[in-house]
């Protein structure tokens, strides 16, 4: 995994580390719970878990400011939790209930929050990328100094519209950070089977867009790179590409036979690179927290996730009329 900067020793405060620990743990426990509810038949259809990739979105959120925007693909639960959307509302959308963030109209892949400047979850690979440039265009037009984080995968990086967007973003100096979450696989296809260059961020060079590869298993590395990217965009220099090298532990979705990689490969990542474990060690080694402190956080998170699950199970089915609402503006 080529990554330019991996932050090892740090002078990051205990509070900051605890914040990352908490946020990443929330995503992990939430996703584990979603997996359980799926297994129980309470969630149907497609459900793409973010487990293993937590440091990417938590690190980048730490580099974001109020009013910055984010837009991503269908693997979106982590992004929503990290930008502060209600876990109960997310879980209830997974179960297709009235209390879901899209009132059961969207499901796992399609949720939004105007309040948190989260422009969705998008089920079509690559489709969100031009939208991200449009959001950045609107911010630039309004002159408000905001930046848009446009997330997409290594697989999505082969969609033609990504490159149409790179060109426009560079041409118009749009304040957009393109975040390529390279987890090495697009469904059952390893990156090398589908992608002509190992480092996808280098494709930005052709458009005059600077970029870098980042160790996506280390939240501090991600945050630092995020700050560089954001500073570049806010200073009016146009887009920036972060290729965050990461890994998903679970299947592509809940119905993945996982026949395209070895169990050992996954196990090695979990044991040697786990983003949450890394922060946990930093906290303990730096004497920022005791085992008991961390246990208290774990307990807290468990409680939040259980509440979300209870809410998602108790919330009623949406009313039948919802099939026909929000197709056009009400007359």
């Amino acid at each position: 995994m080529a990554a330019r900067k991996t932050v090892k020793k740090t002078n990051v405060s205990g509070d900051e580390l605890k914040h990352y620990y908490r946020e990443m743990l929330l995503i992990r426990r939430f996703e584990e719970k979603a997996g359980q509810l799926y297994g129980m038949g309470l969630i149907g259809g497609f459900c793409h878990l973010y487990i293993g990739q937590e440091a990417v979105v938590v690190g980048l959120e730490a580099a974001a400011e109020e009013g910055d925007k984010r837009i991503t693909s269908y693997r979106d639960h982590g992004h929503m939790l990290a930008c502060g959307m209600d876990p109960g509302g997310v879980m209830a959308e997974l179960t297709g209930r009235e209390g879901g963030l899209s009132k059961g109209k969207g499901g796992s892949m399609h949720m939004f929050s105007k309040e948190k400047h989260f422009y969705g979850g998008h089920g079509i690979v690559g489709a969100q990328v031009p939208l991200g440039a449009g959001l950045a265009f609107a911010d630039k037009y309004k002159g408000n100094g905001r930046v848009t984080f446009t997330y997409f995968g290594d697989g999505a990086a082969n969609q033609g519209q990504v490159y149409e967007t790179f060109n426009m973003a560079a041409l118009w100096d749009l304040p957009v950070v393109f975040v390529i979450e390279n987890n090495q696989y697009a469904m059952g296809t390893a990156q090398a089977r589908s992608t002509s260059t190992p480092d996808i961020y280098t494709r930005g060079e052709a458009f005059g867009i600077p970029g870098e590869a980042v160790d996506g298993m280390n939240v501090l590395s991600v945050k630092e790179a995020g700050e560089r990217a954001v500073a570049h965009c806010r200073s009016g220099k146009g887009p920036y590409i972060l290729e965050v090298k990461t890994y998903r532990y679970r299947g592509h979705s809940m119905s993945d036979p996982a026949k395209y990689r070895t169990r050992e490969e996954v196990q090695r990542m979990r044991e040697e690179r786990d983003p949450i474990e890394q922060v946990r060690e930093m906290l303990l080694d730096g004497k920022h927290a005791s085992e008991d402190d961390l246990k208290a956080i774990d307990k807290d998170i468990k409680e939040i996730v259980n509440q979300a699950a209870d809410f998602a199970r108790a919330s009623p089915e949406p009313a039948l009329d919802e099939l026909w609402t929000d197709i056009y503006a009400e007359a």
């Binding site: 149907g44 259809g45 497609f46 297709g96 209930r97 879901g100 899209s102 009132k103 059961g104 109209k105 969207g106 499901g107 892949m109 399609h110 089920g123 079509i124 690979v125 690559g126 697989g155 999505a156 082969n158 969609q159 033609g160 519209q161 697009a186 469904m187 059952g188 296809t189 390893a190 089977r193 589908s194 992608t195 026949k259 395209y260 089915e317 949406p318 039948l320 919802e322 099939l323 026909w324 197709i327």
Partner: protein, 334 residues
């Protein structure tokens, strides 16, 4: 044999017989396809003939058109019909018209396979039925098999066809017939005669419908998953309906349809796709033009509602047997 195995068998036969056939798409080669339709084919025919592509639908189809124009016979998979939109430009403006605008010098013997339809909790980006977007385009043929026997024969015929064929595979039928009751036990193709697939080479001709149930009271026109849902509705109602599985939407087997409607004098059309400008509208127009003086009642349509395919309310949206039964009764009331 499941429909998945039947489709794989068809590609196997075509790859074996004709060295100009190639099979490719996202996750198609090494992984064998997300629905496993191409499992084992890369091992058998090598990476030159069965291969993976990047997630680039427009270029996948565009490149296939180039191959076809230059003497090859590509059989391409678009992973879900919902993902074909980036390729729609290539399909309509290049594939469909190459023969015409080159005055017949260049042709496009290309098959684009796509899993279609709902009933799998896929929500709005994994459940669409876009067949009318293809039947609207002159130069394309559109096929929708409803069982393993037909799927194999039709796919071989499509691969051998001299023109571009859109091959829509109802994904709800991949592993067994589906009669529209999602709470019922799932049925496998092993227990259905239509899952009994002949070995080796055979073709099921494009443009030929099949009467799956003979009857005298009303004609039901259906295709794909809706063939079974319609059969269930007919059975529940006890009405002596004739059910026609269209199999190919374009070219349409109007003869079989007209023969039936002239006999029954009544017609119900069923499809999963949204109602407005759906293929049912075309069928109504054709039937009334050809059978106006035989019709005893207005033709009824049972379709998906004019709304995005839902996540939470799939079974309120899906045209189930009850809705079809109501339509059958309604056309018989007149």
């Amino acid at each position: 044999m499941t429909m998945i195995e039947a489709l794989r068998d068809a590609m196997d036969v075509a790859l074996e017989r004709d060295p100009s056939v190639v099979v490719f798409g996202e996750d198609v080669g090494y992984f064998g396809g997300v629905f496993r339709c191409t499992a084992g084919l890369q091992e058998k025919y090598g990476e030159e003939r069965v291969f993976d592509t990047p997630i680039s639908e427009s270029a996948i189809v565009g490149a296939a058109i180039g191959m076809a124009a230059h003497g090859m016979r590509p059989c391409v998979e678009v992973q879900f019909a919902d993902y074909m939109y980036p390729a729609y430009d290539q399909i309509t403006q290049e594939a469909a018209r190459l023969r015409h605008r080159s005055n017949g010098q260049f042709t496009c013997p290309l098959v684009i396979r796509m899993p279609t339809g709902g009933g799998i909790y896929g929500g709005q980006t994994h459940s669409q039925s876009p067949e009318a977007l293809f039947t609207h385009v002159a130069g394309l043929k559109t096929v929708v098999p409803s069982n393993p026997q037909d799927a194999k024969g039709l796919l071989i015929a499509a691969i051998e066809d001299p023109d571009p064929v859109i091959f829509l595979e109802p994904k709800r039928l991949y592993n067994g017939p589906f009669h529209g009751d999602h709470t019922g036990k799932s049925v496998s193709w092993a227990s259905d005669a239509r899952g009994d697939v002949r070995e080796g080479y055979y073709k099921t001709p494009l443009g030929k419908a099949r009467v799956t149930r003979e009857g005298a009271a009303v004609t039901v026109l259906a295709y794909g998953t809706m063939v079974y849902v319609a059969e269930a509705a007919v059975q529940n109602s006890g009405i002596d309906a004739e059910v026609i599985d269209l199999r190919t939407l374009l070219p349409l087997d109007l003869e079989t349809i007209v023969t039936s409607v002239e006999k029954t004098g009544r017609c119900v059309i069923v499809h999963e796709a949204t109602k407005t400008s759906g293929f049912g509208a075309e069928l109504i127009a054709e039937v009334q033009e050809a059978c106006f003086y035989h019709l005893e009642a207005p033709i009824e349509r049972v379709c998906g509602w004019d709304a995005p395919y839902p996540h939470a309310q799939e079974w309120d949206y899906f045209p189930g047997p009850d809705r079809i039964e109501r339509a059958l009764r309604k056309v018989l009331e007149v």
